[in-house]
C-alpha cells in the first residue's frame, strides 16, 4: 500500500526549477531512501512534501489525499513530520521545550507526558540534558533531539533530511539503529542521504535523484549492482 505518492512535482525558486517533475512512492511500513548529489533537489523535495515550499505542478498524495501546497501545520496534522537538514532545533529553548513544541498540535496531555517519557527512555542523553538549552548540545545530540521532536507528533510518516550530516561515525550508527527501531514500531520512514553505505544497511527501497528528476528506483541489491551508481555513490571499493 502506497503511503506517499509524489507525481510529477515541479518546484521552482523564481525562474530556477529545482524539481523538474519528480515522481516516487513510499510504501506503508517501509524504509525508503533518496540518494543524490548536492544540489540535485533532495532538500527541495523534502521541503515540498512538508509544505514549506509550494510545488508549481504535480500532486503529493498522502494516504490518498493530495497535500500539495498545503500549509506545513496542516501536513503535520495529517501525520507527516520532517526532521530538517541541519536539525534546526530551537537553540534558546530547553530540550524539554523543544520536545513540547513537537507536540504542539496535540491536546491529549497525559499521552504527551507518556510520550515524553518514552523519548527520554529511547534517547537517554536527552533526558540528562532536559533542562539545557538546545543550542548547547553537540551535533549528535541535536540530531537526536530533532528526531525526538518530530516523533512527538506521532507521525505515520517520518521524513529525514540527511540525518547523518556532520556526525561522527559512531553517532551515525546510532542514528541508523534508531531508524531501524522506529521502523519496527510501525513508523514509515523516508530519508534523504548522501552516505549510501549506512543507507544500504537499513533501506528497503532506493531512489536516486539527479538534477531534479528521479533517475533510479530499485532495491538495495539493484543499487549495489549498478556500476555507474556504485562508482558515484559507493566508491569503487567493494563493501
Amino acid at each position: 500500500m502506497s503511503l506517499l505518492q509524489i507525481q510529477d512535482v515541479v518546484t521552482a525558486y523564481g525562474k530556477i526549477e529545482a524539481l523538474k517533475g519528480a515522481s516516487l512512492e513510499v510504501a506503508q511500513g517501509s524504509i525508503t531512501c533518496l540518494l543524490g548529489p548536492n544540489g540535485a533537489g533532495k532538500t527541495t523535495l523534502m521541503m515540498t512534501v512538508a509544505g514549506i515550499l509550494k510545488p508549481r505542478k504535480g500532486s503529493i498524495l498522502f494516504a490518498g489525499e493530495d497535500i500539495a501546497g498545503r500549509a506545513p501545520h496542516d501536513i503535520v496534522t495529517r501525520g507527516v513530520a520532517l526532521v530538517p537538514e541541519n536539525r534546526l532545533v530551537f537553540p534558546g529553548m530547553t530540550v524539554l521545550e523543544n520536545l513540547q513544541a513537537g507536540a504542539y498540535q496535540r491536546n491529549d496531555g497525559k499521552a504527551v507526558a507518556g510520550d515524553l517519557e518514552k523519548m527520554f527512555t529511547r534517547f537517554p542523553r536527552l533526558k540528562e540534558r532536559a533542562a539545557q538549552q538546545a543550542g548547547t548540545l553537540s551535533g549528535g545530540e541535536q540530531q537526536m533531539l530533532a528526531v525526538a521532536r518530530a516523533l512527538m507528533s506521532r507521525p505515520k510518516l517520518l521524513l529525514m533530511d540527511e540525518p547523518s550530516l556532520g556526525l561522527a561515525p559512531l553517532v551515525v550508527e546510532e542514528i541508523f539503529r534508531i531508524i531501524a527501531e522506529l521502523h519496527k514500531d510501525g513508523v514509515s520512514i523516508f530519508f534523504v542521504e548522501q552516505n549510501a553505505h549506512m543507507a544500504l544497511k537499513v533501506a528497503q527501497h532506493f531512489y536516486l535523484i539527479e538534477q531534479g528528476r528521479i533517475s533510479f528506483s530499485g532495491t538495495p541489491g539493484a543499487l549495489a549492482e549498478d556500476e555507474v551508481i556504485r562508482r558515484a555513490y559507493l566508491g569503487s571499493a567493494q563493501q
Binding site: P72, H73, L82, F90, M93, A101, S153
Partner: protein, 290 residues
C-alpha cells in the same frame, strides 16, 4: 539641586513607563514578524478616538472607555495585520512598512473626519492631588502608568514562558521553518502577537490620554516616534530592552527638559539615538533588521 534631580527622575519614570509600553508593542511585532509596524501609534490613536467618541456621545465611564480603547486598538491592529503584513509575510519588508505607513495616513484622516475638532477633553484618570513622598510628588496617573508597565511585563513573561502560545511564539522567533514543521500555525501566531501588541498599546494610549485629560490627532505621530525611539534605544528586538529603553528615554527627557527646555529635550533624544546607531554599539544590533 538634588531635590530637582530626584523629582525629575520620578517624573521621568512616569512618562518612561508609557514609552516602555509603546516600545513593548513595537518590539513584539518587530521581534516576531521581523517588520516595523509604522501604523502602531495610529492604531492606538484610533482606539483612543473611539473611546473619545463614546465619551462625547454617550458619556461612557472610565472603565468602559479603557475597554473601548483597547478593543479599538486591537481592531485597528487586525486591519493592519491583514492588509499590510499578512500579504508580505514571505516577501518584502519594505512593502509591509510602507503599506503600514499608508494605513497610518488613513487612520489620521479618519480621526479628523469623524471627530473634527482638533482637541477633545478626555476624562481624567484621577482628579485628586498627587501622592506626596516626603518633599517629592508622584502623580497618581504616573503611578498607574508604572503599574501598567509592570503588569505588562509580568503578563508578557508569563505568556511567553508559561503558556503554549508563548512556546509557539518563541519557536517562531528562533526558527520559523522548524516551528511550522513542528505543527505550529505560524500565520495564526502572527495574528495573535499583533492582537497582544495592539492591546498593550491600547492600554498605553488610554493611560496617556487620561493623564493629559485631552486628545489630539498628534497622538498617532507622538506614539509612533516615542515608541520607535524607545525600542531602538533599548536594543531592537529585545523585550527587556524595550522596557529599559522606554524608561531611559523618559529619564533622559525629564532631565533634558529641566535643564534645556522642551525643544532641546527632543533634540537630545534623537541625537543620542543617532550617535548610538552611528557608533554601532553592540547591544543594538541584536537582530538582523534588513
Amino acid at each position: 539641586m538634588i531635590a530637582d534631580l530626584i523629582q525629575n527622575t520620578l517624573d521621568g519614570l512616569g512618562i518612561g513607563a508609557a514609552y516602555a509600553l509603546l516600545a513593548l508593542g513595537f518590539t513584539l511585532i518587530f521581534g516576531v514578524l521581523r517588520r516595523a509596524n509604522l501604523s502602531y501609534g495610529a492604531a492606538i490613536m484610533f482606539g483612543c478616538y473611539a473611546a473619545t467618541w463614546a465619551h462625547v456621545n454617550f458619556g461612557a465611564g472610565l472603565l468602559l472607555l479603557a475597554l473601548i480603547t483597547v478593543a479599538g486598538a486591537v481592531l485597528a491592529g487586525a486591519y493592519v495585520e491583514r492588509l499590510c503584513f499578512a500579504p508580505h509575510r514571505q516577501g518584502s519588508a519594505i512593502a509591509a512598512m510602507v503599506a503600514s505607513f499608508a494605513v497610518w495616513m488613513q487612520f489620521e484622516e479618519l480621526a479628523t473626519l469623524v471627530m473634527p475638532t482638533h482637541l477633545y477633553a478626555f476624562p481624567a484618570l484621577y482628579e485628586g492631588a498627587p501622592l506626596a513622598l516626603g518633599p517629592y510628588t508622584l502623580r497618581i496617573d504616573a503611578l498607574a502608568m508604572l503599574g501598567a508597565a509592570f503588569a505588562a511585563c509580568v503578563l508578557l513573561w508569563w505568556t511567553l514562558y508559561r503558556t503554549r502560545f508563548g512556546l509557539a511564539v518563541r519557536a517562531v522567533v528562533e526558527q520559523p521553518d522548524a516551528a511550522a514543521l513542528a505543527g505550529i500555525n505560524v500565520p495564526w501566531v502572527f495574528v495573535r502577537v499583533f492582537a497582544l501588541a495592539s492591546a498593550i498599546g491600547g492600554v498605553a494610549g488610554y493611560l496617556v490620554v487620561a493623564s493629559h485629560g485631552q486628545i489630539t490627532p498628534m497622538l498617532g505621530m507622538w506614539s509612533t516616534l516615542k515608541g520607535l525611539l524607545a525600542m531602538m534605544l533599548g536594543g531592537l528586538g529585545s523585550l527587556p530592552g524595550a522596557v529599559v529603553g522606554g524608561l531611559a528615554l523618559g529619564l533622559l527627557e525629564a532631565h533634558s527638559q529641566w535643564f534645556l527646555g522642551p525643544q532641546l529635550r527632543d533634540l537630545i533624544a534623537y541625537l543620542l539615538l543617532f550617535v548610538l546607531l552611528a557608533a554601532r554599539v553592540p547591544w543594538m544590533n541584536t537582530r538582523s533588521a534588513s
